[in-house]
Symmetry: C4
Subunit: 277 residues, 4 copies
Amino acid sequence: MSFKQKLFEVIQPGREDQTLSRRFDYFIYGLIVLNVLAVVIESYSWPEEWFRQFLRGFEFFSVLVFSLEYGMRLWTSDLLFPKKSRTLALFSFVFSAYGLIDLLAILPFYLPFFIQIDLRFVRMLRLLRLLRILKLKRYSRSLKLVSEVFSEVKADLAVTVFITFLLLIFAASIMYNVEGDAQPENFSNIGQAFWWAVATLTTVGYGDIYPITPLGKLLSGLIALLGIGVVALPTGIISSRFIEKIQTRDQHKNTRKTEDEICFCPHCGKKLKESQK
Amino acid sequence: MSFKQKLFEVIQPGREDQTLSRRFDYFIYGLIVLNVLAVVIESYSWPEEWFRQFLRGFEFFSVLVFSLEYGMRLWTSDLLFPKKSRTLALFSFVFSAYGLIDLLAILPFYLPFFIQIDLRFVRMLRLLRLLRILKLKRYSRSLKLVSEVFSEVKADLAVTVFITFLLLIFAASIMYNVEGDAQPENFSNIGQAFWWAVATLTTVGYGDIYPITPLGKLLSGLIALLGIGVVALPTGIISSRFIEKIQTRDQHKNTRKTEDEICFCPHCGKKLKESQK
Amino acid sequence: MSFKQKLFEVIQPGREDQTLSRRFDYFIYGLIVLNVLAVVIESYSWPEEWFRQFLRGFEFFSVLVFSLEYGMRLWTSDLLFPKKSRTLALFSFVFSAYGLIDLLAILPFYLPFFIQIDLRFVRMLRLLRLLRILKLKRYSRSLKLVSEVFSEVKADLAVTVFITFLLLIFAASIMYNVEGDAQPENFSNIGQAFWWAVATLTTVGYGDIYPITPLGKLLSGLIALLGIGVVALPTGIISSRFIEKIQTRDQHKNTRKTEDEICFCPHCGKKLKESQK
Amino acid sequence: MSFKQKLFEVIQPGREDQTLSRRFDYFIYGLIVLNVLAVVIESYSWPEEWFRQFLRGFEFFSVLVFSLEYGMRLWTSDLLFPKKSRTLALFSFVFSAYGLIDLLAILPFYLPFFIQIDLRFVRMLRLLRLLRILKLKRYSRSLKLVSEVFSEVKADLAVTVFITFLLLIFAASIMYNVEGDAQPENFSNIGQAFWWAVATLTTVGYGDIYPITPLGKLLSGLIALLGIGVVALPTGIISSRFIEKIQTRDQHKNTRKTEDEICFCPHCGKKLKESQK
């Protein structure tokens, strides 16, 4: 096995069986978590100047590691797509979901050298690199189940979202007319009324905006009760698909089992012919 | 194909396979969305006079288009109901759900010419015309599933709503007696207590009205916990029907499949006779 | 049919097929709803003295009707329990759920004549009489389904409630220690902290009491997230039973159908003997 | 039966059939509940000195009883693990879940004699001893069902929690950037923004912190709507497993039943041979 081949094995995520590959994964994940922690800490006012400098140094070091890792992934991309040509494999990696996330994790650091923009916030996107964890065998099946369910209920959920949106905009425009005169500062336009409608239908209810007229309270109560249905509908849709998925899986198991229970002839003990499928 | 026939094909919604019909749909949907946007923008205070004039002009144009479209639908209504007579088809369209929605979208504009009322709010009802989108093939099956489930659980949900309402009015009258003395401005009558009960049971909890006495807090906590059951019950009802629907559909598939697996005679290999159903 | 028999038929609730019985039901239901409305109206301050007098008169009239009805039910109780003796039937009715509710609806009116207590609030209990509506055929099946599901999940729900209660009291005592020093007026004792815990776990969140220390916010966030599980668990339990119930019902249908699909002998066409069950 | 054997039978929890054992359980449970109540009461300011002294005396008595009980359990531990040696049985009990909980219930009382710490709060942990109630037959099956479901959905829930956490930290860092300038006191750092994100996604919405800028409200609305999905997903996962569990149990019953319905030979009436499984 060449050095390139070995390197490729090490930097591939989710190879739990190889000690070095696992350690490399842990190192990268640790670096990502610490980086996110650094962004969180920087947002506070208590860190003194020397600590801020240290955090900046740490970020510099992280980007260096991430850049190096990105380079290695670029180099070994032809091993990831063995059937594709060198150039095509490179492109395939760069524009794959993980490839783009990796680029996003280092690009914001280099950009300010060329153009003058504040991309501090984008550093948070490094968090996306943690999604690699889901490549671990024990999670990949769960992720597959969840994503399969979501892709199957897409159309059903779209209808739900569409009806919910119509409900929200209606509620907002009605309440704007009903409450607008009583509290012109809170329901001054449909946009604010929409904000109230979302807070009510999702049952968040911050309390910064709520109806004060009897009619407004009546309508608000109705919308809040409808909110229960809005929660129940997607829950029902998602649940039913989960159950279908799990039962189909179980049925496959059962089918395989019954294959051993074919009928036998009572006289000679031979297997009875089955239909030719 | 006559011109009328062609026109009918174009203005029918949900014909994705015909370029012209699809474009016509997009044009109408775009007009509806822009109209709703115009109502939202008008509710704000920032638009200057010239922009308000432009919005009024745009509404005038939209109503013109919608009126023309309504006229065309009236004219081609006999093609929509080919088995009915000319007059009956006209009536069938005008009093169909979509026909009424279409009328509602233009009528508010013409009414003020005859009677003196402010129907600005009703313009929001134009949004309902967007429901036509659900006629698209990819959504119509979802909509059918959702509406079938709802029509089947109607009685079950009615019982739930009835029990919920009893719970609300009891909670309201108890809390009116318990909290009425401690905070006469918030729990001054059962109506206000009912408003509190709805906000608590649906877990919205705006914070404009809440118990302050120990007994009131105890009862409020109980009602909030019961609120979980109130959410769980309709969710369970709706979920169970979704699952039933999906499994019945799957069972039909399975039944068809097993038809190929009929038993064969072990001696001659002929198909065994099935019962005469 | 004797007069007593006829009267019994009329006052029995849920006899939709008999015009008189249906009208009697509607009359009683109407009276109950108007009575509850009267209690609600009396709680407001706007009704003038003459209207309050009218409401008192109306209540007097209602109690009279209800008393008369109760008497008739007592008289015909032997027809409700035809197999029991006269006295036993009377007792059976008086101590049945509906009998007690009926008594509760009139008793509070007569009690003040004997003892000096304010039982105005108990008038709300008349609302319970509306539960008779659930005797209607179209709702009784739903009610049976809902109550069967609840009686089956009793033990499962009890475990959930028990764990939820432990969670609440733990959360309360921890938060009392964590937040007690920072806001002594809000978290002054475990009782208040428990109130906060209920408001958080049920996601009501009135906003009258919330953590302000970082540690308190961290714990509060955890409890709120656990609250999702607290909602998911009973929903899952209730849903699964609903589904089981509906599927068992469907299976019975299927079993009956397959009885027509018994195997037939390929030679003589006679039915093959089935096992002697 | 020796005295030790008899004692062991009595102190074993969940033996409902034995009067003495049941009474012992009730006594211990009562003591635990009263102890927790004492901690709650002590947190209030109204109890006078003599009552506080009484509560302290009661706690002293309880710990004495619990210590005695713990000693008895230690002594009879070899009967709990009859196949293990004396010493191993002792260790098995001490480090079992219930053994540790029992120790935790008395240790905090003795510790202050050796080291100087305030362990008053830990007294709340005595509540954990109530978990023994779940050993009762009627609850143990429910508990087993619930815990089995949870252990099976662990991986699925982990993926959900992971995605939820990513969503929270992203929402927090975005809102910190969006709202930070408008309300520097509320969104002063990512930690506070995270607190807001949790309160919004779980739909608690205390109202102590909420967006005021239009962009912030838009994002907040989106996150609140996503919160519905966050509730629906675990509910769907948990529901589907509950249903699977219950159906598998039912299927076992059905399988047993069909064993009586084996085919019989149409000619001689003998049972047809089944496949040798």
